[in-house]
Amino acid sequence: DTAVSQTPKYLVTQMGNDKSIKCEQNLGHDTMYWYKQDSKKFLKIMFSYNNKELIINETVPNRFSPKSPDKAHLNLHINSLELGDSAVYFCASSPTSYSLTDTQYFGPGTRLTVL
């Protein structure tokens, strides 16, 4: 059974386009996250949502807009894509709403390539 799933797995697009990545978790978790992993494997938190509400928004360009229609879904929309946005994007979830140090469960990642 898939715990945290992301679509698409690969995304190749031109600079300037707008794209979305979808994430769903079937674990019943309250908190979801988006991370960006660069070519050197560095993982950086972008956003965190708890029960559909934004609780963490790191220094991310406002071209990136997360949307959480319900607590099982956290989608990432990116406007006006730039070359530097090329990376692997991971969605994650964790159980509770009161501790961000809960174990996080990661999705398989979406490899975004901007040409």
Binding site: V4, Y33, K40, K41, F42, L43, K44, I45, S48, I56, F90, A92, Y98, S99, L100, T101, T103, Q104, Y105, F106, G107, P108, G109
Partner: protein
């Protein structure tokens, strides 16, 4: 600011040997530490964690050691197997803040 780094970017070991992956952190207020394993093409997977009131914790074939005096964390893998080949990340957190990930060490296990 917080920085979490690893001493070696790549570690090569022979199958059956023990592996030790090291991690240094800078925030002395960090009180929660986690190790993740990331296999090729997959997302990070939780391995083991430790809180600052402990200096050692054991799991199945893995042991995490914490030395708060020198702000150092290590992951020991006993009898390393080819399936252990992956990138290993340490992450640290303070209070209820979200963990900060280090840059990762690539573990290569030779048969």
């Amino acid at each position: 600011g917080e920085s979490v780094g690893l001493h070696l970017p790549t570690l090569s070991v022979q199958e059956g040997d023990n592996s030790i992956i090291n991690c240094a952190y800078s925030n002395s207020a960090s009180d929660y530490f986690i190790w993740y394993k990331q296999e090729s093409g997959k997302g990070p997977q939780f391995i083991i964690d430790i809180r600052s009131n402990m200096d050692k914790r054991q799991g199945q074939r893995v042991t995490v050691l914490l030395n708060k005096t020198v702000k150092h964390l290590s992951l020991q893998i006993a009898a390393t197997q080819p399936g252990d080949s992956a990138v290993y990340f340490c992450a640290t957190a303070q209070g209820s803040y979200i963990p900060t990930f280090g840059r990762g060490t690539s573990l290569i296990v030779h048969p």
